[in-house]
Amino acid sequence: MELTGAEIAIRCLQEEGVEYIFGYPGGAVLHIYDALFQQDKVKHILVRHEQAAVHAADGYARSSENVGVALVTSGPGITNAVTGIATAYMDSIPMVIISGQVPSYAIGEDAFQEVDAVGITRPCVKHNFLVKDVKDIALTIKKAFYLAKSGRPGPVLVDIPKDISNQKTAYAYPASVNIRSYNPVGKGDSAQIKRAVQMLLEAKRPMVYAGGGVVLAGASAQLTEFVRLLGAPCTNTLMGLGGYPATDKLFVGMPGMHGTYEACMAMQYCDVLIAIGARFDDRVIGNVEHFAQVPRKIIHIDIDPSSIAKRVKVDVPVVGDLKLVLGQLLGELRSSKQKPNASDMATWWKQVDEWRVKGGGLRYKNSTEIIKPQYVIEKLYEITAGDAFITSDVGQHQMWAAQYYKFNKPRRWINSGGLGTMGFGLPAAMGVQLINPGATVACVTGEGSIQMNIQELSTCKQFHLPIKVVSLNNRYLGMVRQWQEFFHGNRYSESYMDALPDFVKLAEAYGHIGIRIDKPSDVEPALKEAFARKKDLVFMDFQTDPTENVFPMVPGGKGLSEVILAEDL
């Protein structure tokens, strides 16, 4: 049977089991939208800005094990999508973006809405394709899905010129795909696994440092078992939260710039550090030289060899799929006659517990006068029984959410860790809600971030997405203000958010419910009321303390043990 390129593209999505795609139409994708119209398997969510389409597809992927799909037109469609693509790329999120392109015969002529999509996205995709022949569409889309989800996942762009989407050819979806230049890894090298386990068993102060890779690999159960068998302290990075249960006693909190004192100190002073799907990011270990001053052995497990030994020297590198490698480590650990030395471990835990006391835990001075942002997150955690999907934007509110919401399950904490994209939270929540219908989904945001994609309140209305927006409105680009307070002599250059809209009215204008909360005593009732409304989107505008800062803090360029604790409380 002969089909048009556009029909083939949609058929391919059906074959891949895609239930929802997020997009925005335009000239170059008209044929694809026409094909979409004439079927009902793939449902389309019309966003209000292409950046949001990509973030929604991203949230969809992060909160499930699916590949997110976005569809955008040429020119401004794809340039608007770039921020979303780069966000997904930095956090290794499996995603396929289909973009329309001007007709192939017009490429290079500065045609209307022409932009070099492949060129503009090249540095922020795992791979991209320009389809030049209608016969290639099916195989290209098959490859795109395969690349997006295998190995280290990432976004893959397929750019389809308008004439190609209108030409006809015989259709058959390839049953399998083989890319000779691409061979994702599986198990880890068994000799290296043995060395790693030996090193861990001989350690006096072992420490597990697990990142977003664990979540992406679906390896939380294996990680949890491994940590418990080892009995070592475990930290999860911002991207890895939920990878190990946060309420477990072996968990020492998040490390890094706004991590706990005990996680920072244990990272710094352990003698064997096993990094699992984490990449020694500058926001995690701070100053590399400072980190290297303390001798410790490092075991690093990652699916991407280029993540290993990129920033720090590694003693035992293991390349492999984390789920398989953790399985191997568990097997080796179980069959080993040697056990971790009980007295060494007791001494190590005594030290870690001392740090816990010295750090004083995550703390803030609550008030009956003014709403403390941390208090809102604590109450959010209680009221949602710790079981909600929490998306976040970027800023102080993001750090408070990461610190005070205890994630016990993976894929529940959805944030832009790598690129730090303000405007991510609300559209990401749309994707989360669609793939998890009936689940409680909250977007923790700030009055700055929410305005970067606030137009999506309209999409939420159209598709009945009962997201709960928890806006910590401090009237400041708070994270910027905090840095200006600490490092720029209190000169608050352009960080005050003047002329803010009335968010309650704004929510109402979009057809939702808005609540403004001014008093600490109203925080809990407002949250209760909002979360009781299972069918409605509720926008909660919490007027929080504008001067509150995020602690602990390892200032940029400093070492992990140079962490600043909360001011005297």
């Binding site: 492949v118 090249r122 795992k126 791979h127 320009l130 000779r180 230049s181 060899p305 280029s306």
Partner: protein, 163 residues
């Protein structure tokens, strides 16, 4: 340290820009880059001359391998290898000067491939260092154009980069 890296990649539009883009995006040095299709027209062979610390070179190799279009990477500098570069040099050459240039070129196993009343074009193939030497050996003021391909490299004996 200077490294010479050889790779095989899919002979597809844009593959070259992925490699070039990688070097600029990550701030790696690139001294020269030579590329052309192999006997198998679906594959291109590229030789890159770069420099950096051991850690940087390790990253370059890993990052190149990570590119989907790149099928195989070999750091030729890690073992015995040969490298050759082709250079075309056009010089101002009249009368006696012409003979002098030809004499020097001959010493470098160069060939004259074009001659006019006032110019002479020489072709040389050798290591990059040897070509540099040649340019030092002739009067700089006489050089009108130099065209160099950048190094091409190959492993010695059984060191073979093939799919």
């Amino acid at each position: 340290m200077r490294h010479i890296i050889s790779l095989l990649m899919e002979n597809e539009a844009g593959a070259l820009s992925r490699v070039a883009g990688l070097f600029s995006a990550r701030g790696y040095n690139i001294e020269s880059l030579a590329v052309a299709p192999t006997e198998d027209p679906t594959l291109s062979r590229m030789t890159i001359v770069t420099s950096g610390s051991d850690a940087v070179i390790e990253q370059i190799n890993k990052q190149l391998n990570k590119l989907i279009d790149v099928a195989a990477v070999m750091d030729l500098s890690e073992g015995e290898h040969l490298e050759r570069e082709l250079m075309l040099v056009k010089v101002r050459a009249e009368g006696a000067m012409c003979d002098e240039i030809k004499r020097v070129a001959k010493g470098f196993h160069g060939r004259v491939i074009d001659e006019s009343n006032s110019t002479c074009t020489i072709e040389l193939t050798d290591t990059c260092a040897k070509l540099d030497e040649f340019l030092q050996a002739i009067d700089r003021k006489l050089i009108l154009e130099t065209v160099r391909t950048g190094a091409s490299g190959i492993g010695c004996g059984e060191r073979i980069l093939k799919l």
